[in-house]
């Protein structure tokens, strides 16, 4: 059974640069086609199941806009992200 995770993207910071989507190993991130942030960007969002909470998206996010959650007990500490 694969690890289950999720991400929350803060629309205040996200600029829709697509770097997170480009590196996501599960290909579960897209730029929300119907939504626009206050600054006018289509923000990143999870658009289907399959997130493992690997945090690779957060590692490349230039805006520190992504919070990554993972189901315990297999979660590792945040510092290793």
């Amino acid at each position: 059974m694969p690890v289950k995770g999720r991400i929350v993207v803060d629309d205040v910071f996200c600029k829709g640069c697509e770097l997170c989507a480009s590196v996501c190993p599960q290909k579960v991130i897209q730029m929300a086609p119907e939504r626009i942030t206050a600054k006018g960007y289509h923000p990143a969002e999870l658009f289907k199941d399959g997130c493992t909470g690997c945090a690779v998206c957060a590692v490349i996010c230039p805006e520190a806009a992504i919070t990554v959650y993972r189901e315990a007990p297999r979660a590792r500490v945040a510092a290793e992200a």
């Binding site: 480009s22 590196v23 945090a55 996010c61 230039p62 919070t67 959650y69 510092a79």
Partner: protein, 266 residues
């Protein structure tokens, strides 16, 4: 911000050392990645409260808006001199770092960076190399690659007329005063993790009073390169890394022992 649900752990969250301010950087600009890494290291090493940053002139002139620490905003190229004044005037356990771009460090500020390194100034330098002048609109920088088109080398940098790029890390590593000088890249998650480790070691160099540390970070500038952020990552990998190899150019023995020891423990 969603709240933590039962049976869930936070794997990654925004570092405390960053302010809750939306940056002025273009979408995808890896200045943001570098900022985030520095903030994560300040958090993890517990340095935020005793750190003073020195911002340069260029796109990162507003770095002081984005880190929740004390800052001095230096004139163009002079950040290492300003940092010297700050560091030498504060108690010894204070941490001082500069955050400089390639125009700032490798062009107008060459004297200041060379002499700060030669003095073994106990400061940390975060050096962003994106092969052009970002803030003024993409002019040729000392780091612009041969043949690279910029707004002031419109048919491509001609080395016969405009000379060769400066590999600042290699140059500075030659100085006896430099303790830790490395180059890393921000073009993919693996390299970003390596960059963070290097930033950690650089700050650790300073904490231990071992002298001058510098991390050069290869970065993208999608707007001025005329590419999407994702295309820019590829361009960095294909064109910049061959000219600016990733590597450790100077690691003094005191740090090497530390690295070995921590590896053994790990």
């Amino acid at each position: 911000m969603a709240t933590l649900q039962a049976n869930e752990q936070v794997v990654y969250q925004r570092p405390r050392a960053l302010t809750e301010v939306n940056t002025h950087y273009c979408p995808g600009c890896t200045h943001g990645v570098a900022h985030r890494l520095v903030a994560e290291v300040l958090d993890e090493m517990g340095l935020q409260d005793r750190t003073v940053g020195v911002a340069c002139v260029g796109c990162s002139v507003f770095a002081y808006n984005y880190f929740d620490i004390d800052w001095v905003q230096a004139p163009h190229g002079r950040a290492p001199a300003v940092a010297t004044g700050v560091k030498r005037s504060l108690p010894h356990d204070s941490i001082v770092f500069t955050y400089q771009g390639d125009g700032d460090l490798a062009s107008i500020g060459t004297a200041e960076i060379i002499h700060a390194a030669a003095r073994g100034e106990n400061i940390t330098v975060i050096y962003i190399n994106n092969a052009n002048y970002g803030m003024t609109g993409g002019q040729m920088a000392p780091t612009t690659l041969p043949g690279q088109k910029t707004t002031s080398s419109q048919t491509g940098r001609d080395v016969e007329l405009q000379g060769y790029p400066i590999r600042a890390a290699e140059l500075l590593a030659n100085l006896d005063g430099a303790s830790y000088v490395v180059r890393r890249s921000l073009h993919d998650p693996k390299n970003i993790r390596m960059a963070k480790k290097a930033i950690q070691t650089a700050f650790e160099t300073q904490v231990r009073g071992l002298g001058f540390s510098l991390v050069e970070l290869l970065s993208i500038c999608p707007t001025n390169w005329g590419m999407t952020p994702v295309e820019s990552l590829g361009w960095l990998n294909d064109h910049m890394i061959p000219y600016y190899p990733i590597g450790d150019f100077k690691v003094i023995s005191a740090l090497q022992k530390e690295t070995c020891a921590s590896k053994a423990e790990g």
